[in-house]
């Protein structure tokens, strides 16, 4: 819980990781390149006083995670979104067993989401069933740019992806978090294209599709798809820290999201351990749209409350104290919303 100016914010951090990127776990140069890329994100977007040493960044462990999120970070509940990356790390990048164990020991605070790779075919389906039997997760994280043998990625519209979604449906796995990354075959096309999410979301309307990083670097494609599909949501992992270095860019990202998908389908994420939630939450509560951006309405306290926790809590049935709950906005399910709130439209 975070409190400021008499307002209380229930916080759900919808995208966190427990990773091990230490050299002894790196399988190859790509393992080093991957964590170095994350470290550059960390240093480039985070304020200097929040920078960690490279050694700290390679591995945190469960104890530090609990401290950073729940003791120092105001977080009420957090959701693991593991990226396995077996082609880069000996024992995987996300520490699946350790994260599951931590969530099992702290069920009120942590939710464990699992991961799978549809290119594993039938054997992978058996594995998914067995894992679900043991871990009972409600959501999965899919990293479509994961390398596997000769393949360097897959699409959500692939036939095997559909087989896995059908299985998710049967098992009661309702929340599909997607991280689009580069290097999807064929290279002829834009590797960050989110069009395959559109296909999957139209064909599996009973599943929620949370596009992490709100589709960045293709915000426009994400907004266009999400506005038409009521089961597509936006996760703010990696988008949040732009508040610090590029506040005007961040204001426009939020302004566009509120316009295209509305205030009920946006989820706060720190993307821990790339960044820690504390400073992100403090700054987001203080954040406001720049005055000269007449195309956007100012962010309201209730919108911030929904984004910071209430939206994800609803999706994951996380109990929220009655006095902190808010009703859904009375808005259209598809298409742009609230355009009349922007100054420009008001001038008509």
């Amino acid at each position: 819980m975070y409190s400021k100016d008499g307002e209380n914010y229930f916080i759900v951090d919808a995208h966190i990781a427990l990773w091990d990127a230490r050299p002894e776990n790196q399988r190859n140069i790509q393992g080093k390149q991957f964590i170095d890329c994350f470290y550059d994100y960390h240093r480039n977007l985070g304020p200097e006083e929040e920078h960690w040493s490279y050694e700290e960044f390679l591995y945190q462990g469960g104890e530090r995670l609990m401290q950073d999120l729940f003791e120092d970070g105001y977080v009420d509940h957090a959701i693991f979104q593991p990226a396995y990356l077996g082609a880069f790390y000996q024992n995987g990048f996300a520490q699946v067993e350790e994260a599951y164990g931590l969530a099992a020991a702290n069920p009120g605070k942590l939710t464990y989401n699992h991961c799978y790779d549809p290119r594993q075919g039938e054997a992978g389906l058996d594995r998914l069933r067995a894992d679900h039997e043991k871990m009972k997760f409600k959501g999965v994280k899919l990293y479509t740019a994961e390398w596997r043998g000769e393949s360097r990625g897959y699409k959500l519209s692939d036939p095997w992806s559909y087989r896995y979604f059908e299985e998710c449906r049967k098992l009661g796995i309702k929340n599909i978090h997607i991280h689009k990354g580069p290097t999807v075959r064929p290279l002829d096309r834009d590797a960050f294209d989110v069009a395959d999410v559109d296909h999957a979301a139209s064909d599996f309307t009973d599943l929620n599709f949370v596009v992490e990083h709100v589709g960045l670097p293709r915000l426009e494609d994400f907004c266009w798809i999400a506005t038409q599909e009521p089961n597509v949501h936006g996760g703010l992992a990696v988008a949040m820290p732009f508040m610090h270095t590029r506040p005007r860019y961040f204001a426009q990202i939020i302004g566009e999201l509120i316009y295209w998908i509305g205030e009920d389908r946006i989820q706060f994420s720190s993307d821990y351990a790339i960044w820690s939630p504390r400073w992100l939450i403090e700054r987001f509560v203080d954040f406001q749209i720049p005055e000269d951006m007449t195309e956007y309405a100012p962010l309201t306290v209730n919108q911030k409350k929904k984004i910071l926790g209430l939206n994800a809590a609803k999706m994951y049935d996380i109990p929220v104290p009655a006095e902190l709950q808010l009703p859904n906005a009375d808005e259209t399910k598809t298409g742009p919303r609230q355009p009349e709130r922007a100054d420009l439209a008001a001038a008509v």
């Binding site: 140069i29 480039n44 977007l45 002829d188 670097p217 590029r246 100054d343 001038a347």
Partner: protein
């Protein structure tokens, strides 16, 4: 001994091509996604010219903001670099190498062998990257159009969003934003006379009045994406390679107070419930 002496002499006297020529040639190579010259982005890491009896040998190293930048874009920039330098008079041999990328080995081998896109990537390549280039040329045009119209809207509070569908090129104030739009229109083969309607799709088709606000808003999200990426990529390069900022040129579109490029005040809105 004699050969070495000859080479050294050549280096001093007879190598016609200069570093300035090479850099200028590289200025025509665009990052297809950001639609900016690689020389403005700071992607040229080093440039060396030595002589041989047949002519100059030019060696260029390129660097990118992350190891995981899309390999198709990385390949395009590297192979375009090789092409523009090879076309310079007096150049006998060109070596272009991409540093520190997850596909460096593959791409550099393909470049050295002049294997082409399909020869370099094998089963990962299907046809060509031409369509991909066009995707981003169209996005660059869309963004340039939106900048002009949003500038107009911000400058005139009485102008309604719905009415921008009839704005013509001749109605736009002269300046950098308009010049950029005219350049983008030319690249797509769209008309550039003053009577041409500004809000048209990439085929030059205008919008029905009811669809104008939506078309403008879609264009806006494209512009935000492009400006955001262009600055994030610049920033990541500076973080990754200390000192590389000195090789970057300022980008006014999407600039922030922290860029020290423009003194933009960051004044925020009041909440009006």
């Amino acid at each position: 001994m004699t050969a070495a002496l000859t080479e050294r002499t050549l280096r001093h006297r007879d190598v016609a091509v200069s570093a300035k020529d090479v850099r200028q040639a590289l200025g025509a190579v665009l990052d297809p996604e950001l639609d900016e010259p690689i020389t403005d982005l700071g992607f040229v890491r080093s440039l060396e010219i030595t002589g041989s009896l047949a002519g100059a040998v030019v060696t260029v190293h390129l660097r990118l903001p992350t190891s995981f930048c899309s390999p198709n874009f990385a390949y395009l920039m590297a192979s375009d670099s090789k092409d523009v330098i090879s076309a310079l008079p007096g150049v006998a041999r060109v070596v272009v190498e991409l540093d520190d990328h997850h596909d460096s080995a593959l791409i550099n081998a393909g470049l050295a062998a002049d294997a082409g896109y399909r020869g370099t990537f094998g089963q990962e390549a299907e046809h060509s990257l031409e369509e991909l280039r066009w995707t981003f040329r169209r996005k660059a045009y869309t963004a340039a159009m939106e900048r002009c119209l949003t500038e107009l809207l911000r400058a005139d509070p009485t102008l309604a969003e719905e009415s921008v569908g009839t704005v013509r090129l001749g109605d736009l104030p002269a300046g950098r934003t308009k010049d950029a739009l005219v350049r983008r229109r030319t690249a797509l083969g769209l008309p550039t006379q003053p009577s041409a309607v500004v809000l048209v799709d990439h085929n030059g088709v205008p919008y029905m009045p009811d669809n104008v606000p939506m078309a403008l808003r879609r264009a806006r999200s494209t512009r935000i994406s492009i400006d955001g990426n262009a600055h994030f990529c610049r920033g990541l390069l500076r973080t990754r390679y200390a000192g590389s900022g000195a090789d970057q040129s300022a980008r006014p579109d999407g600039a922030e107070p922290a860029d020290h490029q423009e003194l933009l005040p960051l004044r925020v809105k009041e909440i009006n419930p």
